[in-house]
Symmetry: C2
Subunit: 83 residues, 2 copies
């Protein structure tokens, strides 16, 4: 059994009110070096057998079609998790 | 301006109904090699200046205290994003 990690973030031009609120709280808690926070999703996909390019390509398709909303989100990375 | 990536996942022993539902849909769509899906969060923290160990340590603390619920979630990684 292997794992493929898919990372998805809101598109840069999309407002992220939740991230903005968290950044504001952190600055008030004294974390002055933090200038912004954006929140996205991380998927761990467990697969049978070894990870090959064909499987990564099919998971990248799943990431674009099922895991993300292409209007407001970008698939940032699709990678095999190091064992 | 630099970025620190924080990845958070539900603890392995915690049921992930959303992930289970997504895995079921993918298997019905013909992705037989997919045996499971778990869904977590990915934070991009924008910071002023360079990333050093002290800053990574303070962001790891923020990840444990603010970004995650330690009862049901694990902080999987805290890393500087490659430029």
């Amino acid at each position: 059994m292997a794992k493929i990690i898919v990372e998805i973030m809101p598109k840069p031009e999309i407002l992220d009110p939740q991230g903005k609120a968290v950044a504001g709280v952190l600055q008030r808690l004294g974390h002055e070096r933090i200038t912004g926070v954006r929140i996205g999703k991380r998927f761990e996909v467990e697969v049978d057998g070894e990870v090959d390019d064909a499987l990564l390509a099919s998971i990248a398709e799943v990431a674009a079609d099922v895991f993300s909303n292409p209007v407001i989100e970008d698939v940032v990375s699709v990678r095999a998790e190091e064992a």
